[in-house]
């Protein structure tokens, strides 16, 4: 099957509706690639905004005592850093990848519901402006942590209703994006592209989308109760009226636990795409990967209270949530072993995407193991709300989700722009990032185990050295990301032309490598030939 035949068919099909010109192109676009680009750029910008907040936190924690910011502002920073990184950086970036790649991977012309696709993106800038504006309000932004626990969060000043409505807007955006992705995958697959032929990235996103539709409304409901408790006299979280503040924690984590899998499942999909390409082998255990992803998705709904071991629960609850949580290690282990088995005896090369993928497997697994430690409720009584948990979730989210996003960017950037990125700068970015991320987060395990609490701007002097190390790592990590932004800018501007398959042998791993680089404005207006699909592995 020759690639050029396809290029020709597409070239003349589409000359009549290429992109519109100017700014309005981006405001009114219904094109999956345009919207994907908007999502990705938004994610990158918010990554730097949230990162700047992290550096405020690490600057303050560089040494004991209060240096730069007052404690209330410090707490606003921890809260907004988390909300922005979760909802502003990682989720939009994954949605951007889904938009760009899913139609190309399944042989579809575009997403199933293109207008709604536009709206799900264009709610985001408005929500982020609303969230950022809370910093300048009476009483400052929300400062109770991203979990927004009452009664503390109810002490927020004018920012409270704005924060609640930001969550509503972000929730609507995510739900619409998720519905679009599910409908696209269920209804827009090319003939012959059966569910068990789908690339793992598509599978993981389908399950992620299901999680999003199931839990974002619950979060919306929980923050609505915060709003009515504050302004309309309800008693959901007020014991005097018969309510219970712990109820909020249950509602939040019923959302929050699936949410952390929303942040990691698409990463699994990305890693499962990259490792086979650079090992020059098919993915080991494809169907077990699909079932493992589905199991993780289902288990995510029944383990939430492991975030609440210390708040007070009947003994049966503590035991149940401990055992259920430990079960998650099984499907996750299946995935890690499958990645290792894929690399086993492969003809491996180590371009930047592969470096990030390997670092992901190693470092994410470490984050997973600390998670296993904390799943044991009696042990967690020691770790709870210390820097140990901070180290744990940053290991799964930074060298986990964020590394997967770096890997994906380097992997698909030549496809998107038509130019190879600068491999030398990519490797520099990788080594600086990987070393600094460990300098930043590894010492946090030690201070956490020794009892340093999280979300506090000051600490006992015995923690000084490890905190100083951590801050140095954080600043190196933060500034290294400027290289990343520059590599992307440079690849957009020009560079060595990328072929349609980009990576040696990639054509066997996905339909996207059969389209030219950059691909035409509309991906597959005619379904790809059956032979293309049956040749995939």
């Amino acid at each position: 099957m020759s690639v050029t035949t396809h290029d020709d068919t597409h070239a003349h099909d589409h000359h009549d509706h290429g992109p519109a010109k100017g700014f309005m192109r981006w405001v009114t676009t219904t094109n999956h690639k345009d919207i994907g680009t908007l999502y990705l750029i938004t994610g990158l910008i918010m990554f730097f905004v949230g990162g700047a907040m992290a550096l405020v936190i690490r600057a303050e924690l560089f040494e004991p005592g209060l240096q730069y910011v007052d404690p209330h502002f410090f707490n606003q920073m921890t809260t907004l850093h988390a909300l922005i990184m979760v909802f502003g950086a990682v989720m939009p970036a994954f949605a951007g990848l889904a938009n760009w790649m899913i139609p190309m991977m399944i042989g579809a012309p575009d997403m199933a519901l293109p207008r709604m696709n536009n709206w799900s993106f264009w709610l985001l800038p408005f929500s982020f402006v609303m969230l950022a504006s809370t910093l300048f309000m009476d009483g400052g932004a929300a400062a109770a942590g991203w979990t927004l626990y009452p009664p503390l969060v109810l002490q927020t000043g004018h920012a409270l209703p704005f924060t609640v409505f930001t969550v509503h807007l972000l929730g609507m955006s995510s739900i619409m994006a998720a519905i679009n992705i599910i409908v696209t995958v269920f209804n827009m697959r090319a003939p012959g592209m059966t569910m068990m032929k789908l690339p793992l990235f598509v599978w993981t996103w389908v399950i992620t989308a299901f999680l999003l539709i199931a839990v974002m409304p619950v979060f919306a409901g929980a923050v609505t109760m915060l709003l009515t408790d504050k302004f309309f006299g309800t008693s959901f979280f007020n014991a005097a009226g018969g309510g219970d503040p712990v109820l909020y924690q249950h509602l939040f984590w019923f959302f929050g636990h699936p949410e952390v899998y929303i942040l990691i499942l698409p990463s699994f999909g990305i890693i499962s795409s990259i490792i086979p390409t650079f090992s020059r082998k098919p993915l080991f255990g494809y169907s077990s990967m699909v079932y493992a992803t589905a199991s993780i998705g289902l288990l995510s709904f029944i383990v939430w209270a492991h975030h609440q071991y210390t708040v007070g629960m009947p003994l049966a609850g503590e035991l149940y949530f401990t055992y259920a949580t430990m079960l998650i290690a099984v499907p996750t282990g299946v995935k890690v072993f499958n990645w290792l088995a894929t690399m086993w005896k492969g003809a491996m090369t180590f371009e930047t995407p592969m470096l990030y993928a390997i670092a992901f497997v190693v470092l994410f697994t470490m984050g997973g193991f600390t998670g296993l430690m904390m799943s044991i409720s009696p042990a967690d009584l020691q770790y709870h709300d210390t820097y140990f948990i901070v180290a744990h979730f940053h290991y799964v989210l930074v060298p986990g989700a964020v590394f997967a996003l770096f890997a994906a960017t380097y992997y698909w950037l030549p496809k998107w722009t038509g130019h190879m990125y600068d491999e030398r700068l990519g490797k520099l970015h990788f080594w600086l990032t990987t070393i600094s991320v460990n300098i930043c987060f590894f010492p946090q395990h030690f201070v956490g185990l020794a009892g340093m609490p999280r979300r506090i701007p000051d600490y006992a002097v015995q923690f000084a050295e490890f905190n100083a190390m951590s801050s140095v790592g954080a600043f190196v990590f933060g500034f290294s990301q400027l290289i990343f932004a520059y590599v992307i800018y440079k690849a957009i501007q020009g560079g060595e032309k990328a072929s349609s398959e980009v990576w040696e042998g990639a054509e066997a791993h996905g339909l996207e490598w059969h389209l030219p680089s950059p691909p035409p404005y509309h991906s597959w207006t005619e379904a790809p030939a059956q032979a293309l699909i049956s040749d995939l592995h």
Partner: protein, 295 residues
Amino acid sequence: MASTTKDAYYIPHKAQWPIFGSIGLSTLLAGFANYLNGHGFGSTMMIVGLGILVTMLFGWFGTVINESENGIFNHQVDISFRWGMMWFIFSEVMFFAAFFGALYYTRVLSESWLAGDSSFSYGSTKELLWQGFTAVWPNNGPGHVGGLEDGTFHPMGAWGLPALNTLILLSSGATVTWAHWGLLAENRAQLIKGLIATVILGFSFVLLQATEYHEAYSEMGLTLGTGIYGSTFFMLTGFHGLHVTIGAIFLTVVLFRSIRGHFTAKHHFAFEAAAWYWHFVDVVWLGLFIFVYWL
């Protein structure tokens, strides 16, 4: 263009309505937030935002209805709409699940903990904090929050207006199905009659619900602020009432479209979407009737 013929999947271009939606919705919400914070201009912002949002809804739905009537959507597009609607309803179900979850959690677990159930609190909560509180549902908490002057209130019984409302909603489920049979049999008169009956029943439900609320507020000491019972009662039935109103408006639009001759026996996604939504609202009500009013 290949993408506007019936054999290809329709991909619209230049969507101007979503940005209206974003501007309208965020103006509405920012206005509401300002209103809650006690700023006078908040309510003006809300009205402006709502105006933009309603304009967007008219414009967006109008565009899609025109496209549909012009035969642009092929079978595959129709299936996308159906999947989309189903998953949207699922998200709504999960929104109600949060409030039902709150109801079950308080009724089954936290009430008895608050009253000193020894399996959890070893009896100390009651002694130290809320002496004399016994967990009998319905209640407005050990602090007797809200209610009449003496802190008591009258809970809403199941067998007055709520039972009548159950009857109304269940009948409306039947009439909308009868209308659907009319549409499938290409009997336009039956379709229209069935829809008129459904819409009337729907708005009657809302009217009776409003009467019930009025009675609760003016005579029974039962308000949104009446402890956990008032909170769960009004938030659950209130959000349900909002959804009934939306569903009834949806059915009204479908009714007017039916009168104008829209829909065929094979091509009537909007009708089915409205009917699905209506059945969803119906099922939520049964849950409410059992767990909020009756048990």
